[in-house]
Subunit: 402 residues, 2 copies
């Protein structure tokens, strides 16, 4: 591994991109170079970054060039964790004018030190007994302040629609009315009852909260309490806790990464971290089995090229990392399922909140509409055709259109 | 506390800012409101956010208004930690178009649940025996790949100049040539020797790295090994680990927060988190005794108004939180000390890397030049005047000017 390099790509602007790349390569590794005595240079050479490529994109009014620069870093400069990577390739550099971190490509030997998804797409399909079609997930309409009984009713209603997954609202931290472990036990019981009735097992993703130093222990206790999946606000807590949860053999449930706070990083063209890296590569590396991200549809739409690249980073073949389930979210209604299928394929989770709870017939009908739409698309039938057999889908299409 | 409110201010744009504020207030708390039955409304009312104010700044070409909106959230919606706050007030909202998180104001009763700085400005002054003047700190020129003996030599040279603090390079994660605990022991020994010689005690800030789940334990072991201060890359690891380190009574050393990765959050006018909140309020709340941030000088300059607001958030009187030491960094040389003093006052740490190691006479002379400049400014003397008694300062002024 010692001679392996990590390739890091930045979007930036400068009079001379090549010089900029060389400045980053030195400044982010050994700090200075030309003024070092030869003996010192020989000693530090193995730690020296190198300019590995420049792609000019446009000439700016001020004469500067805007473009991509790639710098290669020796893997020996890093410990095998995301804080080390982010600090080492973008820490102080992030504050050095207009520069956006676009990609980090790790050699397999280095990536192998990361846990990656514990279950991955195949594992989550096994747990949900869902094959050959996208999964369907629902988000609680609202959790905060809701009486426990209301949440139980909401959970049952969603589960009865034949969904594969139901997740907590990510802002559900103050849960004194429906405490974490009690919620897990109660919903596990309800999902068993529903499975009796419908034959379909639904996984409940409980929002893992608490001090970052206690999350591993709380996750283990959650598993003992019957948890089937855990939702993690990865960015507010930091990538490394996802890494540690994924690496712990006692946490025997899939981990679902919520993108909360991601908008503080990715939307600017000049600053931050691009989504395919932030919510794609890094989430998979750290061990998310499922990753939510803004869909390229709806009113909080993500750029479509970025969304597809993000999904590709989650699913592309990798020597040591299992693939993660892409979960394009926000603005999803049954009429969008053909578009989702065309864009993200069979290995995705169709995830909706308002598109389920806002169904004229309620959450159960809303869930049924999604299941019907997914079955239709996989079978190559049109939604209109399927709506003839599914009043739930017909009602959804009538409300939201195609 | 149950009736206390948290005031959150955003910079955003909309056709109608008041409507936007109301949408955020509902969307980030109970999710929906007008369509709820009266009984449900009564039940959720205590959790409902409220629009608390709007400040239009400009009308945009498209007719929208750009401005500040303030939303008040009940403290009961949150657990007492920064991941809960950031997820609850900005999690999904960060992905909802052009919006920047500008400020979070906590009622004292809620802020009291956070540790805040363990030592604060008075405590760090006590530990360094430094009163009535800004402190002086130096950063290792380079750590990565350096032989242990070179680092010892570098440390001694900096310490001999009469500095109050010397810190690791923040990218120093892969430290096999000079392991964390061994480094702490060795530098503690050297600083004792230097204190014998100069009568001045220097604190060494060691870069705390490792799995986030082990940082508390590693910090305790570091203290046992003789650590005097710990450097933490707060943003790459997440705010909550700083909170837990600060709250642990066994970690009896000041915590120094490095701003690595901050540039991924603050520079965009439309997105992210403003520095006075990110590196000011939140760092203090979580427990940083010293906070580095980009100075308003030099080539990676922070906007001056923001830098001053940031420093004010670190030092302003607070019912329960000790003040944190502002450490305006980057581009600092002795000629800037009068400007630093005018801008940030006596309670700051003057921090330099190149401005010390780049001194024609070496690091010791570089450190002496800063100490002389600080003493002069506090005594109301000009640098030129002081340079007559300090060849080190004279040489620094000759190289870097005033």
């Amino acid at each position: 591994m010692s001679d392996q390099r990590i390739l890091v790509t930045y979007l930036t602007q400068a009079k001379d991109l090549q010089k900029k790349a060389e400045g980053i390569a030195v400044g982010m590794t050994v700090g200075s170079w030309t003024d070092l005595p030869a003996a010192k240079q020989a000693e530090l050479q193995p730690y020296l970054g190198e300019a590995a490529g420049v792609t000019p994109l446009e000439t700016l009014p001020n004469g500067d060039t805007r473009g991509l620069v790639t710098v290669s870093y020796p893997t020996r400069n890093f410990t095998v964790d995301i804080p080390s990577l982010l600090t080492g390739v973008f820490g102080k550099l992030s504050m050095d004018g207009k520069i956006k971190l676009v990609d980090i490509q790790l050699p397999d030997s280095f990536a192998a030190g990361f846990p990656g998804p514990k279950y991955g797409i195949a594992g989550v399909r096994r747990l949900t007994g869902t094959h050959g079609r996208p999964l369907a997930m629902s988000i609680f309409k609202s959790c905060l302040g809701m009486p426990f009984d209301d949440l139980k009713t909401q959970f049952r209603a969603q589960a009865l629609g034949g969904l594969d997954l139901v997740k907590d609202d990510e802002i559900f931290f103050a849960d004194d009315k429906a405490p974490f472990y009690e919620r897990i036990k109660a919903f596990r019981h309800i999902s068993a009852e529903v499975a009796e009735e419908t034959g379909k097992q639904v996984l409940y993703a409980a929002n893992l909260t608490g001090p970052v130093t206690e999350l591993v222990e709380r996750a283990k206790r959650a598993v003992e309490a019957g948890a089937q999946c855990l939702l993690v606000n990865v960015l507010p807590f930091g990538f490394d806790i996802l890494h540690r949860l994924a690496a712990d053999p006692d946490i025997t449930v899939p981990l679902m990464a919520h993108p909360a706070l991601a908008g503080a990083f990715y939307p600017s063209p000049d600053y931050g971290i691009a989504t395919p890296l932030l919510l794609g590569r890094l989430m998979r590396l750290a061990g998310a089995d499922l990753v939510l991200f803004p869909s390229p549809y709806g009113n909080v739409a993500l750029d479509k090229t970025e969304a597809l690249q993000l999904a590709n980073n989650l699913t592309a073949a990798n020597a040591t990392l299992k693939p993660s389930f892409p979960v394009p979210s926000a603005g999803i209604h049954p009429g969008l399922v053909p578009q989702l299928f065309a864009d993200f394929g069979v290995d995705q989770v169709v995830n909706a909140g308002g598109g389920i709870h806002g169904h004229p017939g309620g959450a159960t009908e809303g869930a049924k509409a999604f299941v019907a739409a997914i079955d239709a698309v996989v079978a190559g039938r049109s939604l209109q055709e399927a709506a003839e057999q599914s009043p739930a889908l017909a009602a959804a299409l009538a409300k939201w259109g195609k």
